[in-house]
Structure formats: C-alpha cells, structure tokens
C-alpha cells in the first residue's frame, strides 16, 4: 500500500488548472502524484472537477494551466490516441457494430499486431474477465454486467500501464456492483497496473482504493488512505461527505494539546480533538461518527464531559440499531449500536447522557 513513496511518481498533476469558459475554474491548482501500481480514487460530488481531471489525463480535455506528467514525460501536447492509456467509460462505449472479439481486437489492430498474436491476446483478456465464450456476440446481446466486463477487458487488452475508469459501475445493481468492485481491485493489483478511478460513491472509494482524493469545488480537500479519510477527516466537507456523521455547532472554550473543550450553543460542554481550530473563541463544527457515541456511562473515561440527549426514534435495521436523538437542539443526531445480545434498546422519550472519547470528536472549520 506504500505505492505513493516519493521515489516513483508515475502520474503527476503539477499546478493544473482548467477553465471551460475562461472565467470560472473547474479545477483549481491541482497537485497530485500517483505512484506506480497504485489504485487511486477521485471521489467527489458531481461538478467537483474529478471527471475533468480524468479527461485531462486521457487527453480529451486540455489543461488551461500547469502540467501533467506521465512516467516523467509531460503529456499536455500528446493527442489521446498516442497516450497509450486504457480507459473504461461510464456507458462502456463498446462499438455496437463489432463483435466482442472485434472490439477487443481493435486496439491491437491499430497497433499493427499480427493476427495470431492478436487472437491470443483477445482470448486471454476475455478469459481474464470470465467472458471467454462470448467473443462472437455483439454488445447488444450482453447484459449490463457482461458489457462492463468486456469494457474492462478492452481497456486492458493492449497492456497499458495506466488505466482510467470513469464511474464504471454506476449502471449496475448493488450485488453485481459489489462483485465487480472486488474483481476490479484484484485484477488491478494482480496485473500491477496503475489505476485512476472516478466515482461519487464513497463506499466504492473506501473499499477499492489504496488512496482516495476527495474533490470539492475544483480542489482536493483531502488525499489519504480510506481508513485515515474516514477516521480523521481534515475538514468539515470531508467529514460530511464520507460516511455518516453527526454535527454540532459551538465555540472553543479552552484548548490544550490534544483536547479542546467546546461550548455548544445551548451552553453544554463537550470534549473534542482540535483539528482546525487554533484559539479560544473560534466557531467550530464538531463532527462525531454515529458508531462512536456511547450512552453507557461505564464505557466512558472518568471525567469526560457528557451531554443530555432525548431519544426520538428507534430504528431496527437487523445488524445494527439506529437511534435518533435530540442533542443540543439538533433533532437529527443519530447513533448506531451493534445488535449484540446484551445491547439495550433505547425507548423513544427516554432521557440519556451521551459521551465519547475526545479523539473521536473532531472540531473542524465552521
């Protein structure tokens, strides 16, 4: 997983900017280095600039400013068909007038590879995605999941070192999507190819990637491994975009090393980890994951601050319980508890005290 060491930067975005109309920047000052063999996901809401970055890398869009390097070479002036980058398109973009085998053979033919060699490579690529017997069919005769596999095989058949994927699983149903997520990551790691994957699905990003770049407003908000991203979001956008999250507004009351006491708007005090608050009096948005909230006093550290909460709703979800609370005037404060044999079900109307470990509660920018 340590593919991002400084030694081998396979793809580099160096101060890249992109504007379509000459006024508004869609991508603002992007700096990103991707290591060889790394699986990097660009995650963000639509319009955040992630797809534009992918298109610039593929060569379908040109950077307004800055430079993109591939294996140390600037590629700004190389047309898309000379970049040798594989790509899986959102709608697969299989050629409808060619059979599956002809689709896969196409990149080999334009590379002037001999017929027998071609057939061998096509068959190997199809076998790799378990579509070996479908070579004679046309794309329209395949299901969505099968087309997806063929698109993947076509992107890999000419053995590119870098493969781009633009929301490739968006059109599949949930089960198939989870299966393909697993297969794609396996394939990418086994073949040792560098993958840049674009998605707006955070689960996909977390489960598949070595590192995730969270995009918003044309900038990378945080670039980190999935666990770091989930557990230590650096700003309130990342905290709210990745996973479920409870937020409370307050003002910093005292701050020392790893502990900031925040006074909520209704006057209660809570313990937090200062992330990007620096001094007493700063407004802050405090973020806590639902599964890190405790309501059993015996499980809290002695001396920890607790907050009064009223149970509003209890939702049974099978493996977990989801409980909606009113905390400091916020009616949408959720907690998640595991459905364990000794777990107590909270009743609506019950008054409880909740708390958490200070390091799970992050004081972010307001």
């Amino acid at each position: 997983m340590n593919a991002s060491s400084d030694a081998d930067h396979f793809v580099v975005f160096d101060r890249v900017q992109k504007s379509y109309d000459g006024e508004n920047l869609v991508v603002k000052d992007l700096n990103l280095a991707i290591g060889k063999g790394e699986f990097l996901t660009m995650l963000g809401p639509s319009g955040s600039g992630k797809t534009t970055c992918l298109m610039m890398l593929a060569g379908f869009e040109t950077a307004t400013h800055g430079e993109i390097l591939l294996d140390g070479q600037p590629i700004n002036n190389i047309p898309p068909h000379k970049r040798g980058i594989g790509m899986v398109f959102q709608n697969y973009a299989l050629f409808p007038h060619m059979t599956i085998a002809e689709n896969l053979s196409f990149p080999l033919e334009v590379r002037k590879i001999g017929k027998s060699d071609r057939e061998q490579k096509v068959q190997r690529a199809l076998d790799m995605v378990e579509m070996g017997s479908f070579g004679g069919r046309r794309p329209a005769q395949l299901s969505g999941g099968q087309q997806q596999r063929v698109a993947l095989a076509r992107a890999l058949v000419f053995e590119p070192e870098l493969v781009l994927m633009d929301e490739p699983l968006g059109a599949l149903d949930k089960q198939l999507r989870e299966k393909m997520q697993f297969e794609i990551t396996n394939l990418a790691h086994n073949l040792g190819i560098t993958t840049v994957y674009v998605t707006h699905d955070q689960t996909e990003a977390l489960t598949m990637s070595d590192r995730v770049a969270v995009f918003d407003d044309g900038r990378i908000q945080q670039l980190a491994a999935p666990d770091t991203l989930y557990e230590s979001p650096e700003n309130s956008f990342v905290a709210q975009f990745i996973g479920e999250n409870n937020t409370l507004m307050g003002t910093v009351e005292s701050i020392e090393n790893d502990l900031a006491v925040v006074k909520l708007d209704d006057g209660e005090l809570i313990d937090t980890l200062p992330v990007n608050v620096t001094k007493v009096g700063d407004r802050t948005l405090v973020s806590i994951r639902p599964e890190r909230v405790e309501y059993d006093p015996s499980r809290l550290q002695p001396g920890a601050h607790t907050v009064k909460a009223e149970v509003l709703e209890f939702i049974y979800m099978g493996d977990i319980y989801r409980t909606r609370l009113r905390v400091a005037g916020n009616d949408d404060f959720f907690i998640k508890t595991r459905n364990a044999p000794d777990q107590r079900r909270l009743q609506p109307g019950e008054q409880i005290e909740i708390g958490w470990r200070a390091k799970d509660c992050r004081a972010l920018d307001a």
Binding site: A58, G59, F60, P79, P80, H81, K82, R83, G84, I85, G86, M87, F89, Q90, N91, Y92, A93, L94, F95, P96, H97, F106, P107, V110, R111, R138, P139, A140, Q141, G144, Q147, R154, F158
Partner: protein, 283 residues
C-alpha cells in the same frame, strides 16, 4: 387495430369512413402512376386505351415502345447521359454532405444555424431561381454546357438531402465511441472509417439515394446548365411530350418508376437494419 366490442355507433361510422378516406387518398396518389403502366404496352401510337386493350386482347398489347427506347439513339444518348451524371453527382453530394453534417454536429462550430440554412437552401429556393442563377454563374466561369457543370449543379441539389439524413443519424451517435476509439490508439482518420462511418452508413446511403433520384429525375436545372450534349432522360421526355407525343415516354416512365421503387425498398431495408443495430445498442 380492430374495432372493440363496446364501440359506439359514432365510433363505428368513423372506423369505416377513416378507411374509405385513406383508400381515396392512396387512389388519388397512385392512380396516375398505375395508369401509365398498361398504357406503355399499347400496340398503337396513342396515349389512350384502345378497344383491344380494354377487351384484354393480346393483339392490343406490345413491347414496341420498350424496343424503341432501347434501340432509338434519341433515347439511348440521354439514357447514358443520365447514367453518367447521376452517379457522379451522387458521389459528390454524399462526400461533401456527409463531411458537412459531421462538421455541423460539432459543438464548437460557430454560426451553425446560418451555415446549415445556406447549405440546404437549394431544397427550399424555387428550382427555377437556382437554375437561372446557376446558368449565369456557370456561363461566366465556362461551366455552362459541360458535364462537370451539370454534375456540380445536381450535386448542389443533392447535398441538402445528404446533410439532413446524416444529421439525423448523428443525433443518435454516441460521442463516447469516438473517444473510446482514440483512447484505444486509433488516429482520427481510422476512427472515422472504422467507428463513425459504419454507424452512420444507413443515413449516408439513404441520403445518397435521395440525391441520386433528384439528379435522375431533374429537368429544370439541366435545361439551363446543360447543352444538347448533356441531354438527360427527363429532358428527352419533356421534349418528347412537347414535340412527338410517343408512348415510348410511358415505357421510360414505367422503367423509372420501377427503378425508384427498387431504390426506396433499399432505403427501407437499410433503415430497418440500422434500427436493429441501434435499438439494441448500449446506453
């Protein structure tokens, strides 16, 4: 759709009168064309049905007008002119029209509306005006009375058909296919011939057939732009009607009708094929 059991009297009346009206419209459109076919087998040199023909007496029918068409140099020369001019004009219309349609489908082209309007104007402007304009312009530059002149004039008339049919096909064309092709390493020329062209081919061919029929049936422009050397079939038929009312014209007309039917059948078959290809295409 058959009449449902609960139909009211009004609905029943409409159901049958609708069919009668449709029948009348078809009759009105087709009767003049149908009539000339038996007349072209007339044994006499008349434009009317003889008593023998009405009695279905074999004596009243003959192939003499067809024989005349295939042997008389007055008809053979125009036939060869038409056969030379129409394909050349079609080829020109198809190449230029397809390129224009592809260009006009790109999002970055400025003044698209205006360019499109100019290119399809030969279809809208009265033919006699185009013809007169071409006559004066071509005389200036020495194209009047030449094969090239007639071919260019007919190509100008055919281009709008190609542009319209190809543009319609391009609307359904998935742009990510050309991107995919480039991404897989194909240069723009390969992409055009291997990916784009096969998919828009039905539109190109139907446009080409319309262009061909336009040139093959055209009389006004060729009268202005051509000279006796470029006399085409429709021109000869026009002269024939005016000067020597010969049933050979009917024989020619029958042959032209059959050619048109064959061409339009081809168009329809191609359209179905493309629908089949696209109807099942992904996305």
């Amino acid at each position: 759709m058959s009449l449902p059991i609960y139909a009211s009297t009004g609905q029943k009346i409409w159901y049958y009168s609708f069919r009668v009206i449709c029948g009348l419209i078809f009759f009105f459109l087709i009767a003049p064309i149908i009539t000339i076919i038996p007349l072209s087998f007339n044994a006499e040199d008349f434009f009317t049905f003889t008593p023998e023909m009405l009695r279905l007496d074999p004596e009243g029918y003959s192939l003499q007008h067809y024989r005349d068409f295939f042997t008389n140099p007055d008809w053979q020369q125009p036939l060869w002119n038409s056969v030379k001019i129409a394909p050349a004009a079609t080829l020109l219309s198809v190449s230029l029209g397809t390129l224009a349609a592809i260009g006009l489908s790109q999002s970055h082209v400025p003044f698209k509306g205006a360019i499109m309007a100019i290119l399809i104007s030969p279809m809208i402007v009265p033919l006699i005006i185009s013809a007169a304009g071409m006559y004066f312009f071509y005389s200036r530059i020495g194209l009047q009375g030449t094969y090239l002149g007639v071919v260019l004039a007919h190509a100008a008339l055919g281009i709008p058909f190609v542009i319209i049919t190809v543009t319609a096909t391009l609307v359904g064309f998935d742009k990510s296919l050309t991107r995919a092709s480039a991404n897989l390493g194909a240069d723009p020329v390969t992409t055009f011939f291997r990916v784009q062209m096969p998919l828009i081919l039905p539109g190109v061919i139907s446009g080409g057939l319309f262009a061909f029929i336009t040139s093959f049936d055209e009389v006004v422009v060729v009268l202005f732009v051509g000279s006796a050397g470029q006399k085409t079939l429709p021109w000869q038929m026009f002269i024939g009607l005016r000067e020597q009312i010969s049933p050979t014209i009917l024989a020619v007309a029958t042959i032209l009708v059959i050619i048109s039917i064959c061409l339009l059948t081809t168009v329809e078959l191609l359209r179905r094929r493309s629908e089949r290809l696209r109807g099942m295409s992904p996305g």
